[in-house]
Structures are given as C-alpha cells and as structure tokens.
Subunit: 368 residues, 2 copies
C-alpha cells in the first residue's frame, strides 16, 4: 500500500488566535465584521479539546475536494447575536450528503474580519484542517467577489444553515449573481446571519486560484502589533514594516458622512493631516470597506489595493462603522494580491464594480 | 411474477380542462389566483401529445411515494408573467434526486384556483397521473394550511424552481411555519412566482388525509355551469344544486374596502340585497379568500366553510381582487370537508388562525 507522507499541520494556540483577531481585522480594510465573538468561540473550542489546524495549501492533493465556509449576512447581526455553534458543520455535512463526497479540508472565503474564524471552528468540529489561504486576501461585501468565483468556480450547490436549525440548499443558480441574490434572501428570512458552505473545489483549483498563506500573514500581522505594544514601539510602523506597506497619511477625522442602505455602510471620512502630514487633507470613500483614498482631492489608492485605517496609539484596525469625529488615525496602504489585479478580477472587485465610473484602478506601486 | 391489475386512469379532454377552469375558480372562494393561464398551458401540453391523467386516490399503493406540487407566490405575478413551463418537473426531479426515490403520482395541494392546473402539467411531463384529491378542498393563502401539514406531514425537503432555471432546496425546517417563511423569501428573490414540490408522502397517508375526489368535483361543477348556460337555465342554481350548497344571499356591491399588504388582499365588501333579499344587507370579510359572511350584521358563514361569490348572470366565480362597485352577485355557501373541521384543523384554518378572535366557527349546517 502506497504510504504518502503526511502533510505538516500547524496546530494553533490561543496566542495565535489573539494575533489572528488583530491581523484579520487589519486585513478587513474597514469591513468584514468584528472577529471578537469568533475569537471567543475558537478559544472555547480549543478548551473543549478540539484542534484548530492549518495546512499548507500546496500540501492538498490535486484531486481531493475541499469546501469553503463563511458567515453570510449583516456583520452587526453576526456580532450581536450568538451562533448556535455548529452551523458550519451542518452546512458541510449537508453538502457532503447532497453530493456524496468527503471533504479533506475547509477553506476560508474571506480572511478579513469575522470570516477568518468560522472556517477554523467548522474544520475543528469535522476533524479537518483549514488551508492556509483564502479567496479575497482582505474583505469584500459580496460573495461573487471571491477569487474562486472570479476564476470560474460555481458556488452551487451551496448549503445555508442558521442558528435555529434550518437548512437551505441553493441547488442550482443560473449565475453567481443569482446565487448571491437567493442566498441573501434566504439569510434574511433566517434572521440575518447564517453560515454558508459552497460547492466543493478540487485541490488543484485552489492551489491555482486561492490567495495563499493569508492565515500566516494575518497571524504574523497580529503578532507584530502585540510585540510592538509590549516593547513600547510604534505599532503602526510595525504593521507597515511587517507588510512592506506604506503609511500614506496620518490625520484627525474632521468630517464624517455615513448612512446605512440595503445592509451596507456608505459614506466618506475627511481628515486633517497631523505630524508629517500637517496642512494636508485626506479623505476615504466607504462602502462597507475603505475603497478610495484621496490626498488633497487627488486619488491616490484605489480598491482592490488595501486601505487600512489604524488607531495611531494601538495599531488596531478601526472598522468603518466605528469611525468617529476626532479620532487620530494612520492610513496604511497595501498592494492587492496579483490575483485581484487581472482584468477579469478588476471587473468584479475594481472601482467600476462599486459604481465609481470616473475612477481608474492604478496599482499603488505605479506613479499616477 | 405477481401481476397486479392496473388502476383505471381518467384521461382528461380539453372540455374537462374548460370545466376545471370554472370549477376550480368556484372552489377558490375568492382566492387561489386565476386558472386561465394554467388552462392554456394544460391544453398546449395536450396538443403536444401529453396525457393529462387522473387516478383515484384509493388506487395508489400504501407504500408508494407521491409528491405534491403547486405554485407559490403572488397570484397576480403567476397570472401576468409566463412560466418557463417545466418548473414543476424540475422540482420533482430535484426532490427525487435529493432523496433517491421515484414518485408514482403527483398530488395537488390546492384545488381552488391556479393550483389545480400545475400538478396536471407536471405529472404529464413526468408521465405520471395526478391523484383525484387535494390538500385543501378549496383555496387558502399559506402552505401550512394544507391537510397534509395539519395531520403531520413535514414539507421538507422541498424543492423550489423558478422560470430562470434556479433551484432551491429547503432541506430542513424546524417547523412548517419556518418552511413557509424561508420558501416565501426564496420565491420573492426568484421574482415572486415559483413552483414548489414538497417531500414525498406515502400512499397510505394520502388516502387518510387528502380531501378526496376534488378534481371530479371541480370538473363536475364547471360542467354544471356550462350545461346550465347552454340550456339558458340559472347557472347559480345549477352550481348550488350540483354541490348541495345554499345560496345565502343575492345583492349588489355597495361599498368596497380593499388594500394590499405583504402580498395579501385585505378588505370588506358590503352588499344591498336584491330579489328575495331586497331590504337585507350582506357583508363579506376578505383576506385573499372570502372568510366571513354576515347578514344584517350577524355572522352566518365562517371559514373554513366555503363562501363563494358568483356572477348572477354567468355563474362564474369572482375573485376578491375582481370585486367591483355595482356588481350583482350571488353568495353561495358550502360546508367545509370534514378534515378541515377537526380541532387540529380549526387551529390552522379556523377564524382565529386569520386573527378573528371574536368569531367562533359554527358549521353552516348548525343553527346559530
């Protein structure tokens, strides 16, 4: 009998989860929801003896099947209403039963925010590892904005479970947009925050189209913040250094327009520069996430590049709904992963996809 | 090899379908939607060579599995927007695939209105008969108001298909009410009028809890109207005689209050008596269907007994959304089938279920 060498698994510690909370919030670029409740659930699972394990995406067999799992719904409901706890597992089991297969690993749809935690809990309950990757490398508001969908994976059949015990299968959708529409409606009917597992993907597909090593990245980011704080160093500088990112602005929030519509946060924040940016003005356009940064009225960083708002004192990410008048913040920009910058990806996650017809995406590394 | 004698099948003619259109509209008691489009589709199917067949419910094997099929959504959307045509068949096939069984017959949920036609078309496409029965014996606005649910059948898993080609499976609902809520939301996301097939039922269950011979009843009703018209006799009297029902009022619509809320029609119609009822006043309370008839302010007929508004000239049913000032109508009352009058049924389809806490159900045959 052929005996393939076992892939190495990274078993997470509670300290890793603390770091992941901070790091995934940073990669949330203002959205993705608060991972705090997920952190508590992950730690609880560990204390009950479950193993939360990460496996390198390149260690999965090409023909093996993996399933992505994530929360769907209004982040605020996901944050304020506790989960039953096994929604993700029920989703996975429903899919396996519907299609008669066994998943060998769980995949994260969205490393930014809340959705970094759910795959770990689902996988631990199923006795499976989570692959070290995700489908966004950040947070985005809609499901079709995931690299798997962008590069041809069809989400259906997908399974949707709520905390009451209800299960819906979106068995077939004529397009990814129809899937989003039906799953969103079912989620609202289930109370506004459910868990969704998508049709299985082959190992070979995920190796090609996932954003790789984003659990490693998020946890390292969180560790850098915690270490800087412990050593009384500047945590914002530590984040920038860790990510080879660029602090493009520091300022005080002067004006803030924000409104909620169709479950999304829309708005704009205006900042007066401080420290090195004294005399400059900055602004951020918001649609759940931070989408466009302008300096003195001129566009400088554009989605899908990451625009991250950090508290200057603690280095922690501030989500768009937590922005407040008078806050002193640093704006950190990170280049988007290459898979988000292709023409087919920009159609789905570039500025036009968010309705900004007059803004062109120019990668932040390129001089405008 | 044991050779069981084949049950006799009644192959419908176009004339039967014409009669069914009239009869099912009468049994719709003001609701259930207009069966006109369904009639055209049924005739088209026949002209394409399909057989629309009815089988006596007592001829189905006790252990055989049958599936109920019906439209779900706003009747007006179902009437104004054409169907793709094979929604019901796709629902049936999805269920069979999900649960790995073969249905031997199709069952009607609701004989009143539009939903009398869909099972015939679905069954014809699948090469199956429709059982001569339904789950309401009339029309009701919500899915849990069907005898199958009242007497313990769980609707899930159910399959929901739209004209675009989308399929949703409500795989598990913690209650029939949750099923209704999720299926309704999915229907709205699909555009407002879909077809739903419910989890299979055993032949033995349907024999016990279906309202029997309602296709025979509806077609005979329609024939009575057509015959009376051809012979220049009073069609209202013909309907009353055919059903051994009671014409409780004839009048002219004087006042009409009606409003649409959450997809339902609410309202009240006031009538001034004519002919034998000159000097009397009548009123009908409406919630999609006609629910309560009062004579001179006194309650006389109450849901689930059937309150049917007929055009005095043609004997055709007038749906609640088609009521108009000045119309001359007859009000016909029919006693509800026994299965709708048990304590467990009245909890779901009695006056209290519609919010009338001050109205008691007294069967129309009993003196008040």
């Amino acid at each position: 009998m052929a005996n393939k060498s076992q892939p190495k698994l990274w078993v997470l510690t509670e300290e890793d989860i603390d770091a992941l909370e901070i790091g995934s919030a940073i990669l949330g670029t203002g959205g993705g929801g608060n991972p705090y409740i997920g952190k508590l659930r992950a730690k609880q699972a560990m204390r009950e003896g479950l193993k939360l394990q990460i496996m390198d995406v390149d260690d999965v067999d090409d023909d093996a099947l993996v399933v992505s799992v994530g929360g769907i719904g209004a982040p605020v409901v996901g944050y304020e209403r506790l989960k039953e706890g096994r929604e993700g597992l029920r989703c996975l089991r429903t899919l396996e039963d519907r299609l008669n297969f066994n998943a060998v690993a769980v995949v994260c749809e969205e490393i930014g925010g809340q959705n970094s935690m759910e795959p770990l809990i689902t996988a631990a309950l199923a006795g499976l590892p989570v692959l070290d990757c995700d489908g966004m490398g950040r947070a985005f508001p809609e499901m079709q904005m995931v690299t798997f969908s962008i590069y041809g994976h069809r989400t259906t059949p997908s399974a949707l479970c709520d905390l009451h015990g209800n299960t819906v299968i979106i068995d077939h959708a004529v397009s990814e947009l129809w899937h989003e529409r039906m799953a969103r409606a079912a989620t609202v009917s289930q109370g506004g925050a459910s868990v969704l597992a998508s049709a299985p993907m082959k190992g070979s597909f995920v190796k090609q189209y996932a954003i790789k090593h984003t659990y490693t990245q998020a946890i390292a980011l969180g560790r850098a913040v915690l270490k800087a704080r412990a050593e009384f160093r500047d945590p914002v500088a530590a984040v920038a250094e860790q990510e080879k990112g660029k602090v493009v602005f520091t300022g005080k929030i002067q004006d803030l327009k924000r409104h909620l519509s169709k479950g999304f946060v829309f708005g704009e924040a205006h900042l007066n520069g401080i420290d090195a940016y004294e005399g400059d003005e900055g602004s951020i356009v918001i649609q759940n996430e931070n989408l466009i940064f302008r300096r003195n009225g001129k566009v400088e960083v554009v989605v899908p590049d990451l625009i991250i708002v950090l508290d200057v004192e603690t280095g922690e990410a501030i989500t768009t709904e937590m922005l407040q008048y008078g806050q002193r913040v640093a704006i950190l920009a990170l280049p988007a992963p290459e898979l988000l910058k292709t023409p087919e990806a920009l159609e789905v996650v570039g500025p036009r996809a968010f309705g900004f017809d007059d803004v062109e995406y120019i990668p932040m590394s390129v001089e405008r």
